[in-house]
């Protein structure tokens, strides 16, 4: 080929065969090929998710209903938290590209500065995802209920606090006559409500008595649930997907009846691999797998960035005369951001 004689490529760029396909270094091209294969994996996962979503006949969870909480502030903030996570990841992608740019100017200080910023952003993202998972696993205050006709509904409204448990039959721990209330026995309000929900999920609440974890039986005093609304997510004999029971007193009556029926699994809180309160079983499985696989990529990215940061601080790349290593790590880091853009759309928005 005639062109090759006049092509100026420095000797370090040439591969073993004294050529340089696409005028790119070996490392960079191989990183691209790795990213293409990884993109196929993520593409496959998201398409499998799409397949499942089209193949179920129960209602698929809606992002802004499922993810509407913020740490400390509680419920009622649809999508704000994931939007924040997305923003954090975009910003850490920007600091990475600034590190690459600093590398092209052989600005060691700039590279170190922007790499540190990138690592902090990545760590924040992984931490946010941990919170998100914890929240997803523990679930909402009301859970999902199975109505008498076999239909399933999610519940919106204001949860009435559990005031106290008065023990009527002794167990391993509590004695007859004990009154357990928030602020006493080192119990907090959150723990009181948690114990109540746990008993509901296990089918240990029969009418006005409740069996606590130590086997004691108690009567309980609980404030009324207010502003309840049931949204039907699974077809039953009477109610169909999309129906809403928004008469508050009727919704509350139905909910109480199910919660105090004393049957296990009539109310489901949170999520595990077998069942979840948000939608079909597969939804929980895909959530854990796809966001988990992506989170693992972010975690690996943070680790790789830390190693490269040490290299940059020690001046390894400066001595080498170029900062291409930053560029290659950067490719991986941007790819992680790229995948999140798609996960965000297909898991949370659409």
């Amino acid at each position: 080929m005639a062109g090759h004689a006049s092509k100026q490529i420095d000797s370090k760029t040439l591969w073993g065969g004294k050529m340089s396909p696409f005028s790119t270094s070996y490392g960079k091209l191989m990183m691209w090929f790795f990213l293409v294969s990884d993109a196929l994996t993520f593409g496959g996962l998201l398409i499998a998710y799409a397949f499942t979503r089209h193949a179920v006949d129960t209602a698929w969870p809606i992002g802004e209903e499922t993810f509407n909480s913020l740490p400390i502030l509680g419920h009622g903030y649809p999508l704000i938290y994931v939007a924040l996570m997305t923003f954090i990841l975009i910003i850490s992608s920007v600091t990475m590209v600034l590190a690459v740019e600093a590398g092209h100017r052989m600005d060691k200080k700039g590279v170190v500065k922007w790499m540190i910023a990138t690592i902090i952003g990545g760590a924040f993202f992984v931490g946010s995802q941990a919170w998100e998972w914890s929240h997803f696993i523990h679930g909402s205050e009301f859970g999902k209920i199975e109505l008498a006709d076999g239909s399933q509904a999610v519940v919106k409204g204001h949860f009435g606090d559990v005031k106290n448990f008065t023990i009527v039959t002794s167990g391993h721990h509590h004695k007859k006559g004990d009154v357990i209330a928030a602020g006493k026995h080192s119990m907090t309000q959150v723990e009181m409500n948690h114990d109540y929900r746990h008993a509901v999920a296990e089918g240990d609440v029969h009418g006005d008595t409740i069996m606590l974890h130590d086997g004691s039986v108690a009567t309980y005093l609980k404030a009324k649930n207010e502003h309840l609304e049931l949204i039907i997510k699974g077809n039953g004999g009477e109610y169909k997907i999309g129906d809403r029971i928004n008469n508050h007193s009727k919704a509350a009556e139905i909910y109480e009846k199910v919660a105090t029926a004393g049957e296990k699994n009539r109310v489901i809180y949170g999520a595990n691999l077998q069942q979840n309160e948000y939608g079909p079983q597969q939804y929980g499985q895909f959530f854990f797998f796809i966001t988990g696989f992506h989170g693992f990529h972010v975690f690996s990215g943070v680790m790789i960035n830390i190693l490269i940061l040490f290299g940059a601080i020690r001046g390894v790349y400066h001595k080498r005369g170029h900062y291409e290593m930053i560029e290659k790590t950067g490719l991986y880091w941007h790819f992680v951001d790229l995948v999140w853009v798609f996960v965000f759309t297909f898991f949370y928005l659409v």
Partner: protein, 123 residues
């Protein structure tokens, strides 16, 4: 004819402060763009419910905006736009051809399975 095989390339890919300034300006522009797109997406997601009549339009807007964001990340942040044309095509074309096929086949199949024997397990 443009000879793109006569191409000066060096592993160092160094540039001076002046070019750096220009590059950084572009980076900040893309940052703001990506942030604004994400804000628009979240705003739309909160304002328009999936049961509303305008939802199909919003859904396709989301997908279009996602592809726009992805395009900016790949071409600008990952510098694929600055690589040679051949490399760009080697990476993008096989991926898009295969994925378009897979999306078509599996959504088609998903709808058929949903009608014939829907996957409904667990509560």
């Amino acid at each position: 004819m443009i000879r793109d095989d006569i191409y000066e390339y060096s592993l160092d890919a160094h540039h001076d402060e002046e070019k750096g300034k220009k590059l950084r300006k572009k980076i900040y522009f893309v940052t703001i763009l990506l942030t604004v797109i994400t804000m628009v997406e979240v705003g739309l997601g909160i304002a328009i419910k999936q049961s509303d009549s305008g939802w199909p339009f919003v859904k396709w807007t989301f997908i279009a905006l996602t592809l726009l964001k992805a395009g900016y990340i790949v071409l600008s942040f990952m510098h694929l736009g600055d690589e040679r044309k051949g490399m760009r095509y080697v990476i993008l074309i096989p991926y898009f051809v295969f994925l378009s096929y897979l999306i078509f086949v599996l959504i088609w199949e998903g709808l058929a399975v949903g009608e014939a024997f829907p996957l409904t397990q667990g509560l």
